[in-house]
Assembly symmetry: C2
Homo-oligomer: 216 residues x 2
């Protein structure tokens, strides 16, 4: 399959590497056509790895993944172009983290809105699914790094799109029964608002490689 990834940071490249390793073709998209990180990534990725603008990546992908920081996601997706996202599954893995000069974390948006919801509102033809934002990048694409069952979440308005994302997560190593459906795209708010908790847990555990499981 062909994937377009919006963003060139660590999360974007981790997802891109995994998708290529699974035999997919990936275009990594950035603001400019000649972004050094994207060029270098494509060079080492082999024939199935490409780079281009946000628009190039969105045009290329049968599925598009937003891996920009949540605070700039809408701007990046506007550059990608609504017409190139229409009808496609748009996987949003972003978090709207804002760190103050003192290192204090807040979220923007928060509480009454979320990045996932904003994307779905601004691109009503895209089939937005929020997922993977509760995990450090290495775990997103390799859940077996942790022993035992643990969970990832999906939220979105389009049930068929969520099913496609569950299948995609399956190729990453997530058993379907480990994927918890949190309902409509407003669930993105719930997922993004776990970030302050996640950061405190990371400090308590001394590692970013942890994940939720649940007792019921």
């Amino acid at each position: 399959m062909r994937f377009g990834i919006i963003g060139t940071g660590g999360v974007a490249r981790t997802l891109a590497d995994k998708l290529v390793s699974l035999g997919n073709e990936v275009t990594l998209g950035s603001r400019s056509k000649d972004n050094e990180t994207a060029v270098a990534w494509a060079e080492q990725a082999g024939p199935n790895g490409h780079h281009g603008t946000f628009a190039d990546a969105a045009e290329f992908g049968e599925v598009v993944l937003n891996a920009t920081p949540g605070t700039v996601a809408l701007e990046a997706l506007r550059a990608a172009g609504a017409e190139r996202l229409a009808g496609k599954v748009l996987v949003d893995v972003s978090n709207p983290l804002v760190f103050s000069a003192e290192g204090e974390l807040t979220l923007d948006p928060v509480n009454t809105d979320s990045v996932g919801e904003r994307i779905q509102r601004e691109f009503p033809q895209a089939r937005v699914v929020k997922t993977l934002n509760t995990l450090t990048a290495p775990l997103m694409v390799d859940p077996a790094r942790l022993a035992g069952e643990h969970n990832v979440f999906v939220a979105g308005d389009d049930a068929a799109a969520k099913a496609e994302v569950v299948a995609l997560l399956g190729t990453f190593g997530w058993p379907a029964e480990s994927v918890i459906d949190l309902g409509d795209i407003a669930g993105a708010r719930a997922l993004e608002m776990t970030m302050p908790f996640w950061i405190r847990l990371m400090k308590a555990f001394g590692t970013a490689e942890f994940n939720y499981s649940f007792r019921k």
Copy 2:
């Protein structure tokens, strides 16, 4: 030991019942001296169960628990009186849930502040510890209702107060190693902000009797 509980709702009475069952003395505090729920609770609780005003409960308790809704916690604690809270461990189990007419959940405060932090700021002599707000009431006082290890959290500025709360949680059935220290009282923000996630999980699981455990 003597405990004062601020509030008379389901969480307050669940905590009160458990504390009495463990041989403690409890005063359940409400806005008025003759709150029907508090009177009824004290009647069935036996000689170690009392009722009174917020001030009576705070005066009575060697440890005070805030089990009011987070949106009214400060008002209730002002009525309890700063001088009656000074020097005491003040356990805050509240969440600042606001439900719209359409049933939509938001939090107030959120993101840049929390109930736990507001209480600590307004009552600097109290030794505030946030805990238990991530759990349905029956699980707070009986973690063995769920099989396997699962976790509860503490956040607060006073390490000795947190240690006292860990001991108190131990009497409820929480092994010390199941209690995760999330740092200073700003961790209350992280804990309160998990509420939208908790509500979505409750809907996904079809029960409020679930809890976090972690893979590392």
